[in-house]
Symmetry: C2
Subunit: 382 residues, 2 copies
């Protein structure tokens, strides 16, 4: 089974007997190996060179049997999952070092040690997750389409909004970041994905707060930033950002948007080379372009203040980083998100989601980049 190959190569390399992962449905390593969305209670997967066992909760036995390419054990349900993992390894006759992710529950590590194993950490599962198969990419693509629908819904709301003094109104009531978030989240949920509590809407100065969750009035002429990161039914995320201005975006918003667009173009130019490029080059080229447009980089709260992107998959933030020495690999799913911020002015970010290919890249986001909500109108039919 492909998803166990990297684990087994690591067992060979480290001279280890097995890998054990214990967690709940919030653990992407466990989700990856199990192949199904488990419960909010602990379960476990163990992998040896020639076998794999999922110690599943009984309520999820059917899901486990459908999805897991190995034995499904539903005995000893009352025990902690770490103890069940140790028992599964005992059944398999695994003898020697057991590798685990560093953040395995402490009690699970103690059960494994108590059963006579040395426990040592590995990042083999996280490393395997960073390279997606075509079927994983297809799942991300489906979620990305729902993210696009969310952004288009925001554009439709903003396009229909009217100015009332220095506030925007929509359908007879004031428009705020929370109201816009609800409209967008409802649209995405209607597409079958979960907003996953990740939708960020900023208005003017709060656009510079990268995780803003408050409720601000929306105003004409100010930046309105929308970042959506829904999670699909199979556990994969997408990630997409657009920034809008209602009623004309001159001055700072326009300058910031041009810089972000040029940063995007520079980043995508690096990605055009496909696999083999240094991930950090995507960042440095975008940063150089943004700096050339007169905005500071990595200089506190003003300018381009974060990295150009991150991997996306079963976790919203996963490998690769664009700050270290990782190399782009075919099958990497990466955000490209140049942004320019100024807590006195607002913030502009444009974020696409791409797949690195052997040659070039594929952009999973098919949306305009414009500040103008009208640019997002669906094309005329017929």
């Amino acid at each position: 089974m492909a998803r166990f190959d990297a684990v087994r190569a690591t067992l060979d390399e480290r001279g280890a007997a097995a890998l054990a992962v214990v967690g709940d449905r919030s653990d992407p390593d466990l989700r990856y190996l199990a192949g199904f969305d488990g419960p909010d209670r602990e379960y476990a997967v163990v992998v040896t060179r020639d076998a794999a066992v999922c110690c599943a909760p009984r309520l999820f036995e059917r899901d486990a049997r459908d999805a897991f390419p190995g034995r499904v054990a539903t005995d000893e349900q009352g025990d902690p999952a770490g103890r069940r993992a140790a028992a599964a390894l005992d059944d398999l006759g695994a003898d020697g070092t057991v590798l685990t992710p560093r953040a395995i529950p402490h009690d699970a590590a103690l059960y494994l040690e108590g059963a006579g194993h040395d426990v040592a950490s590995t990042d083999a599962v996280a490393a395997a997750r960073a390279i997606k198969t075509e079927s994983e990419i297809e799942r991300v693509r489906t979620v990305a389409a729902a993210a696009e629908a969310g952004i288009r819904r925001a554009a439709a709301v903003l396009g229909a909004a009217t100015a009332d003094g220095d506030r925007l109104r929509f359908e007879g009531a004031p428009l705020t970041t929370e109201r816009l978030r609800r409209a967008v989240d409802a649209e995405m949920a209607g597409c079958g994905v979960d907003p996953a509590h990740n939708t960020v809407v900023g208005a003017g100065p709060s656009c510079a707060d990268l995780h803003y969750r408050g409720d601000d009035p929306l105003r004409p002429g100010e930046t309105i930033l929308l970042d959506v990161s829904p999670r699909g039914p199979e556990g994969y995320h997408a990630d997409c950002t657009r920034t809008f201005v209602v009623g004309g975006g001159g001055g700072w918003p326009r300058r910031a948007h041009v810089a972000a667009e040029m940063g995007m173009d520079a980043a995508l130019a690096v990605l055009s080379a496909g696999a083999g490029e240094a991930a950090s080059k995507v960042h440095t080229e975008a940063a150089a372009e943004i700096r050339a447009y007169g905005f500071p980089v990595d200089d506190g709260e003003v300018g381009f203040t974060h990295s150009i992107g991150h991997g996306v998959g079963l976790a919203l933030h996963e490998r690769p980083s664009t700050q270290g020495d990782a190399e782009l690999t075919a099958g990497t799913v990466l955000t490209v998100e140049p942004g320019v911020y100024d807590p006195e002015e607002g913030g502009v970010r444009i974020e696409d989601l791409v797949v690195v290919r052997a040659e070039g890249y594929e952009n999973l986001i098919d949306l305009p980049r414009s500040l103008d909500p009208a640019a997002y109108d669906p094309p005329d039919e017929g």
Copy 2:
């Protein structure tokens, strides 16, 4: 600070120097102590007898300073949160045993041990979480209102559905479990809560699968079971289930529904006594009533196959259990969810969410219990 009182009592009782919790936003213990929704990366809270430190991610510094009643440390961001927790304890001069939840990340426990502490497990935070303050109950109440809106939306869709042979149609297209789930999730998201990937819709036989996620056609005369468990913006969940039949529910659905309703009445009669009753009595009284109506209890896949309820809060499933020897406490938030299943027939469950009070209980769910979607129509105004 109230939320640290139980922790400090445990430190005294155990003769321990500190409590350390390390996790990410999926960890309800950490969410409880920190008071804010952190990122999908690790952070930490440490509590001693006279101080508390939140080792927060820099991006969430503002949230931490607003919500955390102690020091917020944003130094050494590159380090694992376990190492930062150990450094915070060193700054505080904490010397001795450090208590942690049993599932603290293993590497965090090793950092604490490496700093000279004995690490011992405690469930003090989970125990404290089980007793809600009025402000926590208010948050659950808000999420419960959104859950009700989701159920009412399903009833409206089903009430407008028409039979086409042995299938239901709605707005010109076949109605399925997935289509109904999307309509309900969109409604809840529009109310400002996250469906949290928890919405379960069953149709006929699949109602007997308690975590069914597939896509089945909806049919007249069959049970249609809807279980919603959204998560609110402050992290608290609600949990509510109703079962519908379109086009007359005689026969098995009617008998099962009467048994579930009688089980609900029996459970609520126990809860009328308020704090001090054994939680298990809520289960046994409901089970006895369901058995009296001719359905088996705890007998494989047919009849009342699960427990009557569970605590709800920052985790969807938390203390108390209705199976052990816990006593109901004022401030307990508990599901009451009698159900009757038969994989040959379908499944009926009715689930309310109650707060145990010193005298009696308060039901946070204000919905009819009927199988008939028309019973859920909003009351006429005026």
